[in-house]
Symmetry: C2
Subunit: 375 residues, 2 copies
Amino acid sequence: MSTKFSFNINSINGKARTGQIHTAHGLIDTPAFMPVGTAATVKAMTPEDVKLTGAQIILSNTYHLMLRPGAELINNFGSLHKFMNWDLPILTDSGGYQVMSLAKLRKITENGVCFQSHIDGSKHELTPESSIKVQYLLGSDISMAFDECTPFPADIDTARKSMDLSMRWALRSKEAFIKRDGYALFGIVQGSIYPELRYESCCRLKEIDFDGYAIGGLAVGEGQDLMFKTLDFTVCHLPFDKPRYLMGVGKPLDIIGAVMRGIDMFDCVLPTRSGRNGQVFTMNGTLNINNACHKQDKNPIDINCNCYTCTNYSRAYLHHLIKSKEILGASLLTWHNLFFYQLLMKKIRDAIEKNQLDEFAQSFEQMNNSISINI
Amino acid sequence: MSTKFSFNINSINGKARTGQIHTAHGLIDTPAFMPVGTAATVKAMTPEDVKLTGAQIILSNTYHLMLRPGAELINNFGSLHKFMNWDLPILTDSGGYQVMSLAKLRKITENGVCFQSHIDGSKHELTPESSIKVQYLLGSDISMAFDECTPFPADIDTARKSMDLSMRWALRSKEAFIKRDGYALFGIVQGSIYPELRYESCCRLKEIDFDGYAIGGLAVGEGQDLMFKTLDFTVCHLPFDKPRYLMGVGKPLDIIGAVMRGIDMFDCVLPTRSGRNGQVFTMNGTLNINNACHKQDKNPIDINCNCYTCTNYSRAYLHHLIKSKEILGASLLTWHNLFFYQLLMKKIRDAIEKNQLDEFAQSFEQMNNSISINI
């Protein structure tokens, strides 16, 4: 049985929309948040627990997996899904972002990026062709074109050269991609914060024709205002009927604002990483479980939350676990945060379907600040 | 509803026996293995997962919990059970062992032990009375008398003085213990490897009259032969109709040998600690998942094991997780090891009931060496 990769839009509220993406491993309700499973595991969680939080897709990393345990090894197991015991969809990034930010002694040429592994210093090259091959070997439901994530800030000449290179790599990525039913390739818009560059990037990617379009080069230090402005003059140039993915975003208010600007997909390490460090999300703002005010608190993180953690554990116990650096603390806080993010997406989808996204956004923004003084 | 603390013996095979211990929080089939939950968590596992491995009781630590988060704090939640979301029985050690091995600048007097916390250097005192009070506040189903764990080796004069002190502390522990239905206090036999001291210790404890009897001061470097010899001349002096607990033991063959010498209860960090480090137990011996031979191995840890880990994950994936220092690796290997230990106890109980413990022990010993060359 094969499923065509497809995207259908169910309802529209301003520029925001709800829909479903259909992939080889099942469907994804959009707007969707993808938990990050960098090294073939969503850190501190079993795959069953990730599913219980409501996640329908996870993101994993070409760069990390090609270095350890290796794409061929994973392919010998059939796919990344089988290797890691996750049978729902997986999106893999292309490694472009990681070679720039994690690898050592990287050197960019027209052909690709030569770099040294952050693990053992071994030398490797990633090109559009090799990145797409790795993602093919992993069996990714959604592969990403190989790109250069333009650093921020960048002057317009630097940003243009970088975007030009990414567009040439996007074409090579498309040519290297082997089309199969249920599997998709997304292009990545670059162009920093410059409207004319973003416009040109959208046009060139549309000409190549991808199954979906990501917006890269944001959430790299430009701040929420510039991010939203860039979305405002970029998303309008993307096809209406294809999924739009804002890479590496973000905080709850970033996500809500981006959905209002037409984005369908998100990924971010924030709920997992901050969970391991003791920061938890609630509809009323964030809490730091490390703080002494939680030492004797019999309440759950959020009295209204139905997640496993809030159903069974007090803030005092979680405070104790995090202070004691116990692994269970990382697991329980990650669980809550992933559940919160999925619930947030559900509320966003419901609000869009009721044509009440503006009201939801305003009310969330007000609530979200109500306990920030306690952080 | 209140349950009397009781112990019934169901079947006997040589000196070994099967039975049940009834406590305020439920029953324990013996011979039993207690996973260690030092800091109010069995490391890397949720309480539900610990239950799924078959565990009916866990051990926790007076020393650790009195320092962090504090016994009064836990008591405010009702009990340690409620604080950590574990509703089955809990045994707590008295802190005697930990103040000797973990605390700094400890000073032993007739009254008790003054020490500095290994966490923050703060000064504390543990006495028989304060140890029993902490265990009362924790709501332990089984409290342990406060003792001095005699170092090994110790000459007979040192061992006698240490045992004498522990026996005076045992009496004070009993006097401080508030008897409630379903809750028990165990005494701890000391006397190092000297038959006359162990005999005297047993007699003095029996005179005080405890609900169960532990054998302390073993598994401290004396080796399996001396441990078994000490059991041989000690267990015979303990009451037949009370539970016998060998503290801090041990490897599978240590446990089997001790059961054959009449022991009913065990605790050890081995399955949890070695799981976090990559060592796993099978009926054919131990494996180190870190070893390169597992890098591409599609088999589970043990093809015959029905645990969550073996049902869902390959050695190759586990190798990848442990090499990548991923939290999920620690959780999955701990899960397997705890499941293995509970299965081992089940097989021991079955063998006793069939009067075939000798055969089981021989066959286990043969199998157990079969893959040790691969470690």
